[in-house]
Symmetry: C2
Subunit: 490 residues, 2 copies
């Protein structure tokens, strides 16, 4: 059996890194800052993709694909956008290698220098809005509702698998609308889609809010976000949806003729979630034994382990297990029957725990005699012995129960770790302990910056729909009408 | 109504370009050599992806994701591989831009030069085999059966949408095996998967064969391929599967301990198909009216167009059409009900023809009275009037019939355009007319090269399973035991 994981309580960061590695989710590649997503990790990402893609299509969006490269001059067009991304751009300058005239190997061919440098997309607003110029002429072309699944590159010096990597996978929605109202509605709708996905699929409660100006996406008028609380008390931004106003339309000279025959600039949104969600999923639920996966995203929902001494026993167990497997599959449950004899049952149990398989069934010879099966839940680590007859429906119900339980547990954790704080002393004390802090803020960049410098806490969001409440800024003592959410974050 | 397409018989190339544009499949982007895949085109690609992905998983493969960037030193490790791709590499040399000190805009920051240049992957053997070093130690780790869906970049000077672009989308399988036999079996199995996909989904007959040494993938021991014949008599290589021997294992020092406790190098394969298949699909079946899509890959399989004068008529038609639509959907048919009143039925008919929708139903008021519907087939352009009652099952059967008919038509075309040629005069004459030429070849690179120089014909493949047949090389007159397939190609 493999060595135990580090404990969350002792070294959360080490626990995360080891878990990612041991559960075979991903690894650092030899290419600096880039990760390799391993098959088991990728299978979870595929489930996320499928669910999100279905939700995007159900809300009227279509997928398309735009170039990997952004010419430097495109990126420059929207000034804030350019400034925001300039420092983390991978730049293609040449298009050919040649044999090294001085010996072995290849060198960059100096004769193959590009006239204009190409940036590996850090995001695609520039290249997409340059394309939309050809797609949008009339109000009839609007709304334009497009999504892209792609890889993007943002050069990061300090990387962490899934949470911050130079290359990551994501989807980016880019829409164009005839009116500001409609674009804002879209921005909020997609934030809602992300929140629903986080809660119903990832079993992860999220706060919906708006970013302060200093935390906005470069080029956006408003950035909406969902924020989740990890088990170490840090916040993780899990998705953003931007109202871009007419900024990109103006920068790329995209216009349309409205129903009144007047020329206008369309209104834009963009929104994205990435493989960062994998990090969120891992950190939200997992424990010191390994991954805890919500059943809706688990590549293997149920594993069946036969306990046998010889081929004859195995044949008898399989005879009883096979119809159960077939029935479960027909009910849409993904099942693995692990009769591999290279490993002992105890080893297998630990491995499936490590990998977060929600339900484990063990069937031995005595079970066959008694018509029973041992059912183990990954979320509670509890076991019970149930009748084999009719087990399939019980498992389907159990998977639902586990999905709900994981969500409720995370919700309870968040509730217990959300604090209303009214004094600066209390703020400083609480931020060391972690959690979401609801506090008043005077609304200035200056205060936000000072709080960050002194405590490493940032405003995660101004919550949507929070009640108006008179109070005084926790830092400046100035009046405030609303609490905002502070936390340290990933 | 939009202008008619150019005719295939007059300008095939112009016909293709216009069709890609008018059917809203894709367009050239402002980024040199890169394309934008538009939503309708992407929807077809998604159907291809889903079908292929299911087939890969059914044959035991798992998806994973590897970095976009290949360090130059990795690419250099397998010499032939390096040589083959050096001339078409996009090279990242810097990781940051900065404000232009001389004025507006951004410049590449000279202080942010990479120590080692990164190549945007033209293919991933190098980065994947470097990773496999950590994944393969024992025979228990084999076979390793991995696939990746990704974008790749090969710098092309003369590009053509879908057929040859600097960036394209593809999948690349990379497997490792304990024995040469098993790796060759895998190479052939995946070629078979591609052939099945081409024939059963794309309705496109393909020849299966092996490439001559001069046409092998850089770094492969053997390259297998599927070749299809386009309507202009040119061949299109539609997929390749490579047996890589131990070349990459040796270059990246990947070893395993076999069952006899000896250290060995594993055997490798790689195989890929790309968005080039979109070009193949378009060129194999479409006609002067537009796209012809096989139903299994059509994003919209059936369009229903109501013919009405006023809202009242429309309501009556919809009342009859809605249950048909529901029934069709429940049978797994994708249906669009186009009651848009911005366009006249004639315009709509032409548009859906252009977009290759396999079946069109038109329902007018007289049809309602008579209980009939006009059913138009895209493949034959024929129409018939059928009873509305029970139309759903007829449509399902019709879609199957169209799928088969499109395949049969393409197969007939290929058969009529495949020629056995025995003299050089005949060869020269026939190659001008197009088609596959089955001819004897003496097996030398030299002859192959001369034939290419004189006629632009290449050996598309040495067909698998072709009968031995004594003859003389069509060019050199030397003895030969087998015919190979020549053609001009894309």
């Amino acid at each position: 059996m493999s060595k135990a994981l580090p404990k969350r309580s002792e070294n959360y960061s080490e626990w995360y890194n080891e878990l990612v590695k041991r559960a075979d989710l991903a690894e650092h590649s030899a290419v600096k800052g880039c990760m390799v997503i391993k098959p088991y990790g990728f299978a979870i990402w595929e489930k996320m993709q499928r669910a999100l893609d279905d939700m995007f299509k159900a809300t009227g969006h279509q997928n398309a694909y735009f170039p990997l490269f952004v010419p430097k001059s495109f990126l420059e067009k929207e000034e804030e956008h350019a400034e925001g991304f300039a420092k983390e751009c991978a730049v293609v300058t040449h298009y050919r290698l040649k044999a090294n005239p001085d010996g072995k190997g290849l060198i960059v061919d100096p004769d193959a220098k590009l006239e204009e440098e190409l940036i590996v997309r850090p995001t695609s607003e520039a290249v997409i809005w340059n394309t939309y110029k050809g797609w949008i002429q009339s109000w009839r072309d609007l709304p334009l509702l497009i999504n892209q699944w792609a890889n993007v590159v943002r050069w990061e010096m300090r990387t962490r698998i899934f949470l911050r990597t130079a290359e990551f996978l994501w989807q980016e929605g880019h829409t164009a609308h005839a009116t500001s109202e409609e674009a804002i509605e879209e921005t909020e709708k997609m934030l809602g889609v992300y929140a629903t996905f986080a809660e119903e699929w990832m079993a992860m409660p999220v706060l919906k809010g708006v970013k302060t100006p200093s935390e906005r996406f470069a080029g956006a008028v408003d950035t909406y976000c969902i924020e989740a609380l990890m088990q170490d008390g840090k916040a993780l931004q899990s998705g953003t949806s931007h109202f871009l106003g007419q900024n990109f339309a103006k920068s790329f000279d995209v216009k349309f003729v409205n129903k009144e025959n007047q020329t206008e600039f369309p209104w834009a949104t963009s929104w994205g979630v990435s493989t960062r969600l994998m990090g969120a999923l891992i950190m939200a639920h997992s424990d010191d034994n390994g991954l805890v996966l919500p059943p809706r995203l688990a590549p293997i929902q149920v594993v069946i382990v036969p306990i046998y001494r010889n081929e004859e026993d195995l044949a008898k167990i399989s005879e009883r297990a096979n119809p159960i497997i077939e029935k479960l599959k027909s009910l849409g449950v993904s099942v693995k029957y692990d009769f591999d004899d290279k490993f002992k049952p105890g080893y297998k149990f630990a491995e499936y725990e490590l990998r977060g398989v929600p339900v484990r069934l063990a069937i031995g010879m005595r079970d066959l005699e008694n018509g029973t099966v041992e059912v183990a839940r990954r979320d509670t680590l509890s076991k019970e012995t149930l009748a084999l007859d009719g087990i399939e429906d019980k498992i389907v119900a159990l998977l639902d129960e586990i999905q709900t339980n994981i969500y409720q547990k995370a919700l309870k954790f968040r509730e217990e770790n959300t604090f209303r704080v009214d004094t600066w002393e209390e703020f400083q004390e609480q931020i060391e302990k972690g959690g979401f802090i609801l506090a008043h803020w005077n609304g200035t960049d200056d205060t936000e910056e000072k709080i960050k410098a002194e405590t490493k806490a940032t405003i995660r969001c101004i919550p949507i729909g929070a009640a108006e409440e008179s109070g005084t800024c926790v830092y400046s003592g100035e009046p405030s009408q609303k609490r905002v959410v502070f936390a340290r974050s990933y």
